[in-house]
């Protein structure tokens, strides 16, 4: 957290880019802080995802990966194959 705090201070000073055109069509306030902070959030997310993937690989190596058949929700990717969609609608 200490690292994050210093990183955010540094970011606040040097990394701003003036981007007025972005706000042209905005009809709600995105929050200035929220726009700036995303660089930090992304850095944290990158570390978390990297360690998650690493952990997954280690688990695979030791055969500890459980089947996720019981998951109510699928993964983040939109399915590319139309046949997969067809199967789900057919069974409804």
């Amino acid at each position: 957290m200490v690292f994050l705090f210093f990183f955010s201070k540094r970011l606040g000073k040097f990394d701003y880019i003036y981007k007025k055109n972005m706000m042209h069509f905005l009809y709600f306030d995105p929050g200035l802080g929220a726009m700036i902070i995303q660089a930090i959030v992304a850095a944290v997310a990158g570390v978390l995802l990297f360690s998650k993937n690493l952990l997954f690989k280690v688990k695979v190596l030791f055969g500890l990966v459980k089947s996720n058949d019981k998951d109510l929700f699928d993964d983040i990717n939109v399915k590319d194959s139309d046949s997969e969609h067809k199967q789900t609608t057919d069974s409804e």
Binding site: M1, L4, S8, L11, D15, Y16, I17, Y18, K19, K20, M22, M23, F25, L26, Y27, F28, P30, G31, L32, G33, A34, M35, I36, I37, Q38, A39, I40, V41, A42, A43, V44, A45, G46, V47, L48, L49, K52, D71, L72, F73, I76, N77, V78, K79, D82, H85, T88, T89, S91, E92
Partner: protein, 461 residues
């Protein structure tokens, strides 16, 4: 413009209106470029095929406006009426759409929870004009909105219970970040995900909210970094769970129903629904939908609502597993149904307005009247009047005064028990027959409960 939908005024890209009872959407020239790109690139088609975005067809096209007609949704539910897993699904759908958009050079320009509703047994995105072109190296402008509309209620529900999801009816624009941060336990500051997405965000928002000059400064962010944010939000939300157990979860095990009485009640409902040839219904206080699933007559739409978020959640998980597309579960307190909220109290319709428009063939009120009368102190006359506005037919179960649940409720009244002397089957019938005529009455054997099939005197078919 006169029949423009009361909630459709924020986005200059277009607006929703009703024509001949059908929901349509007008697209303004300012959004033509985006609309054409989304239509011709196959982006829309892909989302339609994957049931992620409500399908639409183009009705007319001119230089001044394009009109599209989306598939009609019979009953809209709002975020404050969703169970925990419904809310989760809505959040995950938004992230899924944002990831897909980014991969195809688009981006969601807003991330409101009201952009989503439930249709055919799943969450679906209904704001077709939310997609905009992606600007290289720009952050996600809807990031804060996503946090306040989705992550906030879900994280609060995780730490404080599913009741927290109801906060969205007070905070239509999302739960304030500062309030959210203050409501989370201190130990969440040690979690890098929650620290960066909530606590640090709150600090940054606090620091920058007084920049009145309007000079928007923003950080530069690669698409890869943006995708990292989306993916880590997805992973965290997908794993989120509730700590509490359902208070109604084992309801059917702790009631005084014998197996025979349960079967008799279920058969009675099934035969009445079949006789009426009902296709649409609402089950008020429907718990986990057990009795709806006992109906053999094919139904088009069955709304199943209950006050208990966990029962609704259980129902939702069951319908996901069974792939039942006709059931729509949602959370509803019958003593305080969702109000009309937003600008002029018109943006989000009340439950009463929506159910009047939906006009189900039958209303089911099973084992709910004793809770309304004894816990809510609602006189029979008022509950009868209330149900008479819903639909032409009412199937209502009346637990008699000797019923163990009724006795339990009466005992909690202490010395005021005598004030509830009105709770008797004679009183019930005389009040309900003012608004309904009795078509059939069936006492359930070996239990102190009676089933009624009533026909409203005021509602025409």
């Amino acid at each position: 413009m006169s029949n423009q939908h009361a909630s459709s005024f924020r986005d200059p890209s277009g607006y929703v209106f009703t024509e001949d009872g059908l929901i349509k959407r007008s697209i303004s020239p300012v959004y033509f470029k985006q609309y054409e790109a989304l239509s011709t690139s196959g982006f829309f088609d892909k989302l339609f095929k994957n049931n992620l975005l409500i399908p639409h067809k183009e009705v007319s096209k001119s230089n001044r406006e394009i009109i599209i007609q989306p598939e009609q949704i019979p009953f809209i539910t709002y975020p404050y009426e969703w169970s925990f897993n419904q809310y989760k699904e809505a959040a995950l759908l938004t992230l899924k759409l944002q990831k897909y958009s980014l991969e195809h050079e688009f981006s969601l320009k807003d991330a409101s929870a009201f952009n989503i509703t439930f249709h055919k047994g799943q969450a679906i995105f209904i704001d077709t004009l939310s997609f905009d072109f992606y600007t290289e190296d720009s952050p996600w402008r809807a990031y804060k909105q996503f946090i306040t509309h989705f992550l906030a209620p879900l994280v609060l529900a995780h730490y404080h219970g599913a009741q927290s999801l109801k906060l969205m009816s007070s905070f239509m624009d999302g739960i304030p970040v500062k309030m959210l941060a203050s409501m989370l336990p201190n130990r969440t500051k040690l979690n890098p995900f929650l620290y960066s997405n909530i606590h640090l965000l709150s600090k940054f928002e606090d620091k920058h909210n007084e920049d009145y000059k309007g000079e928007t400064k923003s950080t530069s962010l690669s698409k890869k970094a943006l995708l990292n944010i989306i993916e880590s939000l997805y992973n965290y939300i997908k794993k989120l769970s509730l700590k509490e157990q359902s208070e109604w979860g084992d309801y059917y095990n702790k009631t005084n129903y014998s197996d025979e009485a349960f079967v008799q009640k279920s058969n009675c409902i099934d035969s009445w629904i079949t006789t009426l040839n009902a296709e649409t219904l609402i089950d008020v206080g429907g718990n986990d939908g057990t009795f709806i699933r006992g109906i053999k007559n094919p139904l088009k739409h069955a709304l199943v609502c209950d006050i208990d978020n966990n029962a609704v959640d259980f129902n939702y998980k069951t319908l996901k597993t069974n792939k039942e597309s006709y059931i729509l579960p949602f959370v509803l307190d019958v003593l305080n149904p969702s109000a009309a909220i937003g600008f002029q109290n018109k943006e989000r319709q009340s439950f009463i307005q929506r159910i009047a428009k939906f006009a189900p063939d039958v209303t089911l009120a099973l084992a709910v009247i004793h809770h309304m009368s004894l816990s809510g102190n609602i006189p029979f006359d008022m509950s009868a009047k209330f149900f008479a506005t819903f639909s032409k037919y009412l199937i209502i179960e009346f637990p008699k005064r000797d019923d163990s649940w009724v006795q339990r409720l009466l005992n909690t009244k202490g010395e005021f028990k005598d004030h509830f002397g009105f709770y008797s089957i004679d009183n019930f019938e005389s009040n309900y027959y003012k608004y309904f005529e009795c078509i059939e009455k069936l006492p359930i054997e070996n239990c102190d409960r009676v089933m009624f099939l009533l026909k409203s005197k005021s509602v025409e078919s």
